[in-house]
């Protein structure tokens, strides 16, 4: 059956052919390459590329793989790397994921990545394969993946398309992660009209490994075998990530290839266990996952990172669809595949482990002492390129930037005139409206679809400020992680917005008692060809790099997603920041729930009249304008220190950071989590509305046992952190009582909080 179809195919374009027919017109534009980029390829090769080479250059030089628009900005993460990084960074940016030293001989690798566009087309599979991809990145570093998180953005909750997109994305994230046996320990669900035609799915994975067992994507040692293992290669995802299937493929009699990848989490689970067994036996010298740009990317990156070349017989690749032509095989984004470099001595043992796990493994070729990446198809040379020209020497653009024409108007429109609630009744109804608004409402409709227990090391998970896992059950070392982003703040001020996202994630981690250590980021923006978007991007990167330096936490990796727009309208600029923290003794973790009667509630930090970009302005007035809350990173550091020391010394038994919706929302969440009431006494002279709903950064609420009050307040005073006693936990009260203003029974509060999702989706 393969043969008769083979006859219909156009002859395969070979290197020999390319030399003989220099003037053949090639569809480089359809493949997304610019005129000058094509000219550059001609220069590199000294001839026209074969169609296979052209396919490879087009995917490797795409925005997605080459970071051509973002590279010049991302460099700052390296240039501004904080001094603290030297001590912990085992692998920095540029590898599949960064690796940090967390002590006790353990290392941690973590990274966040987007899968936005596929998730709009096919929500379930798009989100599922997003999780699958990031998990393979972590695995590739030699680590056992141990947890996932997901940061999601949707159009308005009530929009009809949200009913299609949200349940599908949630079932995709859950379906894949649950089936891999990875606990989901946190994330975000945010609604804004700008995401209606372009939802965001950012998936994070964290893995642990022994610090001396890091694996790199590197092909070394002439004679070593290049092995492709995992799923067979199919036609899926061609055109999914970076290019559209072009005219040249239609001549091969193809109808359009599916633009989405379909995931098989079972195959990935088996692949993970198989890889971990292979790592434990120390059988690979280099390893790379197959993600965007599939085989093109894996072969070129492995070869480019090594000192030699590589020869591949492409026709040996096991196929799911025998009609695939070499160009398609090179571009396919079929999931659940890996590529390893294995010495001949280790090959048999490697293959035996694959056989044990029923994983298909095929030797495609070997590492050479040359400097070319050569591929053959039934004996004919179809690719002969310098691998570094694909992997490292892609085009780099300094795209024009310009401050958006409406930026000044946006910042000038302060919204100071928006009517504010003035009496207890109106404050009460504002409080209920806010807690029942989609962004602040209970997310358990989503998170109950995620397994948070599997592996048995989850110490904290949603809705806690940060997820926390124990590294092994033989010790007490733990990791905490939070992901945060705020598109509205970033729209108002991208420099500050990125720092506020960083500060929030940092604060969330510290609230659990863990010390923030390192950062990953996923930068979701509109088109880089729009100078206004590019300005937002540049400002956000600058803000994040400066912020990381000031907080002393290095960026270890991340991902850029451009072209997030509906028509010409970009999404709110949305940097999503992940912070990793470490805690020596997980038994000392600080949960968010109010628990114990009579414990005193303290508000840490300063509250100013800051409503620019707030949930209040958004929910009550549909308004966006002014400036976001002030950033004070020195204060964030101090607050984190206090939270960490207080946890270590047992001075507090709950902590919850303040962010969207301000103090009231934080209090409500802690009451609901513990199912206990609280009495709040407003300090003398404050404006109740500002006090309850302002979104000033650098704040948290803690519960302090009476016996520790003096020690705790002395510590705050000595360090210069404002700490105001604002009330007490009251087990008998069963309501959140803001004295002199209003009182809301917990039952009513909970009903308002859980209503939006249940009403929409159940």
């Amino acid at each position: 059956m393969g043969h008769s179809r083979q006859a219909d195919r156009p002859p395969v374009d070979t290197v020999k052919q390319a030399k003989k027919s220099p003037d053949v017109a090639q569809p480089f534009r359809e493949l997304g390459l610019a005129e000058d980029e094509y000219a550059r390829i001609l220069g590199i090769l000294g001839r026209r590329p074969t169609s296979s080479e052209l396919a490879m250059y087009s995917v490797m030089w795409s925005e997605h793989c080459s970071y051509k628009s973002s590279k010049v900005h991302l460099r700052q993460f390296g240039e501004k790397v904080p001094a603290e990084a030297a001590k912990i960074l085992l692998v920095g940016m540029g590898e599949n994921a960064g690796v940090v030293d967390v002590g006790d001989g353990w290392a941690v690798t973590f990274k966040i990545e987007s899968h936005n566009h596929p998730s709009y087309v096919e929500p379930h599979q798009g989100a599922a394969t997003g999780v699958g991809g990031i998990v393979r990145d972590i695995l590739t570093m030699g680590a056992r993946p141990v947890a996932v998180m997901d940061a999601l953005r949707f159009g308005p909750l009530e929009a009809p398309d949200t009913a299609r997109v949200l349940p599908g994305i949630v079932s995709g994230v859950g379906g894949y992660g649950n089936c891999l046996g990875l606990p989901n320990i946190g994330g975000e669900v945010v609604f804004d009209p700008s995401y209606l035609g372009n939802p965001l799915v950012n998936a994070l994975c964290v893995g642990v490994l022994r610090a001396d067992a890091i694996k790199l994507a590197k092909a070394e040692g002439p004679g070593s075998k290049v092995v492709l293992f995992g799923a067979r290669t199919g036609g899926d995802g061609i055109g999914g990530a970076s290019v559209l299937a072009s005219a040249s493929f239609e001549t091969a009699g193809k109808t359009k290839r599916p633009a989405v990848q379909v995931g098989d989490p079972f195959a990935e689970k088996v692949l993970i266990e198989c890889c971990l067994e292979i790592f434990a036996a120390d059988l690979v010298t280099g390893i790379q996952d197959l993600g965007a740009a599939g085989l093109s990317c894996a072969t070129t990156e492995l070869a480019a990172a090594g000192s030699g070349g590589m020869e591949i017989d492409l026709d040996r690749a096991p196929l799911r669809d025998e009609t695939l032509v070499p160009e398609e095989i090179l571009m396919s984004e079929s999931q659940e595949r890996m590529m390893a470099v294995v010495t001949p001595a280790n090959l048999a043992a490697f293959m035996a482990i694959c056989a044990k796990w029923d994983v298909t493994a095929t030797v495609l070729g070997e590492v050479t002492d040359g400097d070319r990446l050569i591929m053959r198809w039934h004996g004919e040379k179809i690719v002969d390129v310098p691998p570094r020209s694909l992997a490292h020497d892609g085009p780099v653009y300094e795209r024009p930037l310009s401050r958006p024409y409406d930026q000044d108007a946006l910042n000038g429109e302060h919204g100071n005139g928006l009517p504010r609630p003035k009496d207890g009744d109106r404050l009460r109804s504002t409080a209920l409206r806010l807690i029942g608004s989609p962004n602040l409402a209970d997310k358990s409709w989503v998170t109950d679809q995620y397994d948070r227990y599997v592996l048995g090391n989850t110490v904290l998970a949603q809705p806690e400020d940060a997820g926390m896992i124990r590294v092994t059950d033989e010790g007490t070392l733990g990791l905490a992680l939070s992901v945060d982003g705020n598109g509205r703040y970033t729209r108002l001020d991208p420099y500050a917005g990125a720092q506020l996202a960083l500060a929030e994630a940092y604060r969330n981690v510290a609230s659990t008692g863990a010390r923030p250590l390192a950062v990953t980021n996923c930068l979701n923006f509109g088109s880089p060809e729009d100078p206004a978007v590019m300005w937002q991007f540049a400002e956000a990167v600058r803000g994040l790099a400066d912020g990381c330096r000031e907080l002393g936490v290095p960026v270890t990796g991340g991902n850029v997603s451009f072209y997030n727009q509906t028509g010409k309208t970009p999404i709110l600029p949305t940097p999503v920041i992940g912070v990793l923290g470490v805690i020596d003794d997980v038994n000392r973790r600080t949960p968010m729930a109010f628990q114990n009667d009579g414990h005193q509630l303290y508000l840490l930090g300063d509250t100013a009249d800051e409503f620019g970009g707030s949930e209040w302005a958004h929910v009550m007035h549909g308004f966006l304008g002014g400036h976001p809350p002030k950033v004070d990173l020195a204060r964030e550091k101090l607050l984190a220190d206090i939270l960490i020391n207080a946890s270590r010394d047992g001075l507090i038994d709950s902590a919850h950071d303040l962010s969207d919706g301000g103090l009231f929302i934080a209090l409500a969440e802690s009451c609901l989590r513990g199912d206990v009431g609280a009495r709040i006494v407003l300090p003398e002279g404050v404006d109740p509305f500002v006090f309850l709903f302002s979104e000033s950064a650098g704040r948290a609420v803690v519960a302090v046992p009476r016996t520790e009050e003096v020690r705790f307040t002395d510590m705050c005073t000595a360090r210069g952190l404002p700490a105001a006693r604002i009330g007490v936990i009251d087990l008998l009260e069963n309501s959140l009582d803001v004295q002199g203003q209003f009182r809301i029974p917990l039952r009513e509060l909970r009903a308002a909080w859980t209503e939006p999702f249940r009403a929409r989706f159940d």
């Binding site: 199919g234 036609g235 290839r257 599916p258 633009a259 989405v260 379909v262 098989d264 669809d321």
Partner: protein, 76 residues
């Protein structure tokens, strides 16, 4: 009451992990001679007399199958 059957299968070029798993199990069961398995969904609808082919097709296309990755056949 007339019965309509709609069968939904993955498009041939899309991965079908379930079929693969079943094929693997057959070997262990000692059943020979089966060279490929595809698994899809099967729907049996009871419809009123007048329901048109267009209605059924719309139903299959919007609800029973996901046209991005699946295709369907209708039997009346």
């Amino acid at each position: 009451m007339p019965r309509v059957v709609v069968d939904v299968v993955m498009k041939p070029e899309i991965l079908d992990p379930q079929g693969q798993a079943i094929l693997g199990a057959l070997g262990r069961l000692g059943i020979e001679g089966v060279s490929a398995v595809r698994q899809g969904k099967h729907f049996e609808l009871e419809v009123a007399e007048g329901v048109s082919d267009e209605t059924i097709t719309k139903l299959a296309d919007t609800l029973l199958a996901n046209p991005v990755i699946e295709e369907f056949t209708i039997r009346r």
